[in-house]
Amino acid sequence: MTPIRERPPLLTMNHIEKTFAGDIVALRDMNLTVNEGDFISLLGPSGCGKSTALRLISGLMHPTRGKIEWTGGQGSDDLGVVFQEPTLMPWATVAQNVWLPFRLRGIAYNEVRDEILEALRLVGLEKFQTAYPRELSGGMKMRVSIARAMVTKPRLILMDEPFAALDEITRFKLNNDLLELKAAIGCTVIFVTHSVFESVFLSDRIIVMAARPGRVIHELEVDTPYPRHEDFRTSAEYAAHTRAASAALGDAIGEAA
């Protein structure tokens, strides 16, 4: 894997500020260069602006000040999103849900059937194409949601605490699978979490944020190379990174108080 500093930039956030009504500063002077192939975690307590940062990058909100720039401009299929909830359409089958990003661009199901089946295969749900979301467990719904986000092979996938509502066994399994998926399609990921352990296991860059006002206070690198497997969780390296990230998060919480 290319070292972080040698990767070409995908998008840059320059002096981004977002203020909500009532002079609430959700984000103050955020600067971040996201490189191609990065797995970035935004780690911080509630109210630190990590979700706001995601919404700004996804274009759902616009910054009060500052600019977000994509290298080579942003195309319509550059972005995939996974929310905290699976956010599936309950009236549509699994395959129809994964079809959605294509469908909204006017592409017929038959034209992209192979891509849809491939995405479902990657998340291990190829046997469930015709199932309805209600027939799936929480973890399986989240897999469908991930398949939908990556089916268009976007350059960047944004994930907003996607596994927070799942039990630990399912979460660990999905963490492993997510890394494999990322390697398979070679995209960039920005992952919002408030779990130190999750951020260390998944990412190679951890951006630690503090609240009131929301801002970046530390950036850590997790230099353990991919692929990372289950045994990484019990390694001394993992423990060291976790300690460092916890200390940084401690600063974030301390500064907010």
Binding site: G59, V81, T87, L104, R105
Partner: protein
Amino acid sequence: MTIADNAPAPAIVDEEEAARARRARVNRIAKWTLPSLVMVVSILAWHLYVTINEIPHYILPGPLLVAQSIVNDWNLLWPAMLITTRLTVLALLFAILGGVALAVAFTQSKWAEMSFFPYAVILQVTPVVAIAPLLQIYVESAFVAALLCAWIVAFFPILSNTTIGLKSADHNLEDLFTIYGATRWQRLRLLAAPSALPFFLGGLKIAGGLALIGAVVAEFVIGRAGTGLGLASTLLEASYRFNFGRLYAALILISTMGIVIFAITSTISYLLLRKWHESALKRE
């Protein structure tokens, strides 16, 4: 191979599970038998009450007389039922068209909703009996007046439910559609409409019953001049003539119509939602 190999594995009998299965079986049977029993007993009691107390038929006809009226007056009742059915079905149809169209307009334009929703409410809360005579004056065709009457009553639950339904889409899905650059039409067709479907169908069930009520009121108020001799007009006329057998026969047919409408709308609702909506699912 021994015989034991072919024998089915002995079922593990759990007392609670067995009791649950028994209860479910009993409930399935009781669901039909109990109401049927209540009906039989009530009709019997009605019959006995009328015969023992020698109640004159112009005060309360016995069930036999009513049954006889249904058979004897069938040539009169059947065309009447067709007329009332036509009025009800047309009113419901226009209520669906008008209610859904207006709901879509309201959700597409906040200005339209702000401007017109209060008047939809006023139309709804003004008793239709009070409007009917006016309609009769201003609308030339009495049939159209009766139709308007029934439509006013039926259309509001569709409008109100569909409007709420169209706004009830999952917010994250809304965001997702925005991120993927969905058009207004895609948003309406692929997100708002399916989200609204359960609400619309709830409204449809209410509107079905109300359309019938509206049709009956219209027949009462506007009368046979406009609608032809519908069931409600027949009922009214039978009461003037002290023909209580026919009156009850008409009443029973009206309520049968209500039951049929409810059954049809419930079936439609079940068929459309059974695959995905919580309301139509069996608990696992």
